[in-house]
Structure formats: structure tokens, C-alpha cells
Amino acid sequence: MQQDSQPVNQPNPLEKIVEFVDERVGLKNIQAKMLNEPIPGGSRWAYAFGSVLLFIFILQVVTGILLMFYYVPSADHAYDSTQYIIHEVDYGWFLLSYHFWGSSAMVVMVFAHMSQVFLWGAYKKPRELVWLVGLALFGVVMGFGFTGYLLPWDQRAYWATVVGVEIMDKTPIVGDFMARFLKGGPTPGQMTLSRFFVIHVMVLPAALAGLAGLHIFLFRKAGPAGPFRGTPEEIKAKTDYFFPRQIWKDIVAMASVFLIICSLAFIEPVVLLEQATPDPGDYHPEPEWYFLFLFQLLRLKIFGGELGQFLGAIAIPGAFMAFLAALPFIDTNPERNLFKRPIALVGWIAIMAFILIFTVSAIINRDFLH
């Protein structure tokens, strides 16, 4: 006798949809690949940098799109529309301030991530390509900061761009072309703003999305670098999967960064200076804070004159970036333990000290200008 005509384990509508998509896309395979990645040595807070960077970028895109609803990229209206966002659009001041501090957070996180990879020796074989794409991403993030800085069209924005483009002009062969292309005329004006805007909202986001995808793909292909210390037994015993512990750590790290950016937006919200004019007046041009060390370096007498400016602004930073790109091919020693790589450790400390000293010097230098 049939007791129950209802079939057992009948899928509900949601399960049916998931099944439908899975059949066509391979959803469960993707999910398994994403979440079941083994992490040698177990989950760590130090592994959260990449996820945090992706999170900051997504929020920069979201806040950027919301700001674009009101921002007008024309020399006549850029300043007024930014003031309008700050003063009249509901929560506009907060969105703009979040976007502003988010860009700084992105630079800090990229820098921290690169430092971590360098100190842990994670650029070595077989992760050379991950490192190279990471360097390209660093350049894209810097480009975001540089192009976005002009958009409010106040004195600070205008003169920082003037200084930046002048530095670019000193690059041999391509410098003149790049400076003329970016300015679009003899002095920064409508063409400059249009070009910076297009690069900021179209070119760089596309480049970053593509490079970030490639970076993650190469990272997954090479596998996680894991900790640089510990016996193989210890590392094996503590091996964990991406879900749930690393996901939890990533979420907490993202939330912490989000809270810090929000707090900075409250403590130091974006306040514009006067509208941009070709006359600096009392304003002393200065780039964004993460370029201050380079700006201060160029004030030294040794870097005076055409040759000195070229050396300080282009040759030395260019040589340093070229060295970073060549690093995995120069340093072929497989040793990753930081304490067994004294040159790397001392070199990193020296570079950090140099950046810190010259950034603080630039801040102290402000008092001598007024």
C-alpha cells in the first residue's frame, strides 16, 4: 500500500534556480575552488591585505559612481559641482570624504602588501609574475591618486597637477609627449580636466580590474606562499582552508579598514580651497601626501638645476622601480626567512626611514614657507 504519495527530497524553488545555473556555469565547482583553497600554516591576519585592497577598490567604485551623479567635469562647473556635493547633496560630504580617504587607504594598503611580499620573500620563484603584475597595480593605484586629485578643481588640485605634470615632462623621450597629452594645451584647463577625468573613471578602473583579475589568477596558479618560518611539520599540522577562518579574518580586516576610513572622513572631511586659477597667490603648491617625500627630495640643493631635477624626479625613482621589477630575477636564492636575508631587511628599513624622514621634513618645511 502506498503510504505517502509525496516524493522525498523534492528541491525547493531556490535550489532549482541554483541547480539550473550550476548546470550551465559550474557554480559548485567555482565555489569549491574559491572556498576550499588550502592555506599552508593556517589562516593569518597577514593574508588579509589582498582581500582588503579588493574591498577598498569596490567601495571606491561605488562611491565614485555616486559622486559622478552630481559631478560636472568641466572647468566652469567642476568646482561648483564639488561644492554642491559637499554642501547640498544629502550625505554628499560623507561620500566625497570617504572617496578621498579611501584613495589614501588604497595607497597605504598597496604599500603594506608590497612590503609584506618583499619581506616574506614571496616574490621568488615561482611567483615572479605575481610580483610583476603587483608592481603594475601599484602604478595604477598611484595613477588613480594623481588623476583624481585634479577633479575638485581648487587651488590645491590645480597646482599639484602642475607640479606633477612638470615632473613628468622631465622624462626623456616620452616626457614631453606625455605632459602635452595630459595638459592638452599650454596651461592646465578644460582639456586637462577632461583627460584626467576619462583616465580616472574609464581607463584606470578597467586597467585595475583586468590586472587584479590576472594577479589573482597567477596567485592561485602558483599557490599561496605561506609563512616564511616554521618546520614543515608545523606548517602541515596547521594547514587550513580558505573557508571559514581566513574568510572571517578577511571580513574583520575589511570592517576595520572601513571603520578607519569612515572615522577619517569625520575627523578630516574634504574642504575645498579657492577655485583653481593660473595665479597661485599665497598658496604654496604641494602634491598629495604620499608624494611629499619625493617633493622634499627635489628641494635639496644637490637636486637643483635641470640635471638634478631629472635625477631626483625621474632617474632615481625610475631606477628604483626597475630594480623592483628585476628583483625576482636578481635574487634567485630560494631562502625566504627574513632573518637569513640581512640585505633585504636592512634595505627595507633604510627605504622606510628615508620615506618617513623626507615626508616629515616636507611637513616641517611648510613653516618656512609662510
Partner: protein, 290 residues
């Protein structure tokens, strides 16, 4: 394990474990126009920090004990350790601040006089940028060194205070994997859906509170900015008032019309009188001419 290492291994993760929770509270204070670093905001933050730090300290100390020292602590380590650390830090940190600021002050004035005498006596061509960097490196090195020594001393104290808890802890036998599994097992919540629901609920409430407190317009308006669109003023229509005002206007208009009519009437009379006078004069004139 040395006192400094033990102090650092417990203090560093404790700071970061409590940090996100404290940041949530700081952000809510900022949204409510209160500064978490002064006055009532600071007091409230300190108050919230106590249970958070006790929890974080207990969790992180136990992790270090099991993972690094291969021992398991006695229950209540969070409260016990927090009380000792809090009293010690309440004395040590202000002392460190005084020492570092005093040393920095002396180092700044000394380096300034050395560099000035160097500039005046030996190398007058020293540029401003070079002078700033030179002075910064000189006094900064001394300050940094003193700061590092003070922090090491503080960490030594924290480690020393923790050692007694290590001595009281019971040792754990087994392999690395056994210890990892033991600690993993302790951290799995008894009711996971309840924990997830509580987290989600707390998150939703906090987001709601944040957006309620967040000012919709900037708390820092630009001094030269003039509001572009204030929007039309909405006035409430009260029929009785409108009718009264309309009656008043009509009454005024009636008076004006009356006055005008009166004036017109007077003018026409005057005009008639003038015309008769003029006519009389005209009649008299030919006679004069004659």
C-alpha cells in the same frame, strides 16, 4: 620565553582583537558629534573598552599559551591579567610620555644650536631643506631610540606580569596537531546559527544607528560658499486668513477707488469753474481789444 617576547606576543594581538569593536563605538561617537579622544566621548570609550579588553586579553593570552608555550591557562585569565596590566600601564604609559617628550625637547634644542653654529661657522651655504632633514635625523634618532627603549621596558613589565600565569598553567601533552585541534575545538561556538544571527542583527542595528546619527549636510561648511538652491518656501494656506486678507485688500481698494472718484469729481468741478472763468475772460478780451 623572555618577558619582552611574551609581553609583545600577548599585547599585539590583544590590541588588534579589540580594535574593530572599539572602532565601531568611535564611529558612532563621531557620527553623534562627540570626540572619542576628549570629554564625555573619551570617558564612554574607556568604559566600553574595559570589557572588550578583558575578553580580548583572555582570548589572546590563551592562544599564546597553547600555541607557543604548550600550556593551558587557568580560568579567568582575562580579568586577572587585565587588572595587573591596567594598573601597570596606567603608571608606565604617562611616565613614558613624559620621558619621550622631555628627551625630544632637549634633543631638538641641542641639535638646533649645533646645526646653527655649524651653518654660521663652517658651512653658510647650508640650504633650508638640508637643515630641516639634518636636524630631524639628529633629534629623531635620539627620540626614536628612547621611545624604543621605553616600549621595550613596558613590554618587559607586561611579560613579567604574565609569567606568574604561565607558571600556574597546566602543561599540554601531544603533538602539534593535537594542540591545534584542541584549541580549534574550544573556539567553535556551541550554537552557530544563534551566533551568526546575533552578529547579523547587531550589524543591522549598528548600520541603522549610524545612518540615523550621520548628518546629511556637511558639519564643516566652506566659509565662502553660498547656498545655490534653497528651494521655494512652503506656506500653509489658511482659508480664513486668506479671506480676511482678501477682504482687507478689497476694502483698501474700495477706499482708493472712492478717493479717486472724489478727486475726479472735484477736479471736474474745478475744471468746470475754470472753464467758465476762462470763457468769461475770453468774452471780456474782445471788448478790451475793441
Amino acid at each position: 620565553m623572555s618577558n619582552i617576547k611574551l609581553g609583545l606576543l600577548v599585547a599585539w594581538p590583544t590590541f588588534w582583537t579589540g580594535f574593530p569593536i572599539k572602532m565601531v563605538f568611535c564611529l558612532l561617537l563621531l557620527a553623534a558629534h562627540m570626540h572619542p579622544w576628549e570629554g564625555a566621548g573619551f570617558f564612554l570609550l574607556l568604559l566600553v573598552s574595559i570589557p572588550v579588553d578583558i575578553w580580548a586579553l583572555g582570548l589572546c593570552a590563551r592562544t599564546v599559551f597553547i600555541d607557543r608555550l604548550k600550556v593551558d591557562s587557568q580560568p579567568g585569565i582575562g580579568v586577572g591579567l587585565w587588572m595587573r596590566w591596567a594598573v601597570f600601564s596606567a603608571i608606565a604609559l604617562p611616565v613614558i610620555k613624559i620621558i619621550v617628550s622631555e628627551v625630544t625637547g632637549v634633543a631638538k634644542s641641542t641639535t638646533s644650536s649645533i646645526v646653527h653654529s655649524f651653518k654660521e661657522g663652517l658651512y653658510p651655504g647650508l640650504g633650508v631643506a638640508e637643515q630641516i632633514t639634518l636636524e630631524l635625523v639628529m633629534w629623531g634618532s635620539v627620540s626614536t631610540l628612547v621611545l624604543i627603549l621605553c616600549i621595550l621596558g613596558w613590554l618587559y613589565g607586561l611579560g613579567w606580569l604574565t609569567q606568574s600565569f604561565v607558571r600556574e598553567a597546566k602543561s599540554l601533552d601531544g603533538t602539534e596537531e593535537d594542540r591545534a585541534n584542541f584549541w580549534d575545538g574550544l573556539r567553535i561556538p556551541a550554537d552557530q546559527p544563534l551566533l551568526l544571527t546575533a552578529f547579523t542583527g547587531a550589524g543591522v542595528v549598528l548600520v541603522f544607528v549610524f545612518w540615523t546619527l550621520l548628518p546629511s549636510t556637511t558639519p564643516h561648511p566652506h566659509e565662502e560658499y553660498q547656498f545655490i538652491s534653497k528651494g521655494p518656501k512652503e506656506e500653509k494656506v489658511e482659508p480664513k486668513k486668506v479671506l480676511k486678507e482678501a477682504e482687507k485688500v478689497l476694502a483698501k481698494a474700495e477706499l482708493v477707488v472712492k478717493k479717486l472718484e472724489e478727486e475726479k469729481g472735484g477736479e471736474s468741478k474745478d475744471l468746470k469753474g475754470e472753464k467758465t472763468k476762462e470763457a468769461g475772460a475770453d468774452k471780456a478780451q474782445p471788448e478790451k481789444k475793441k
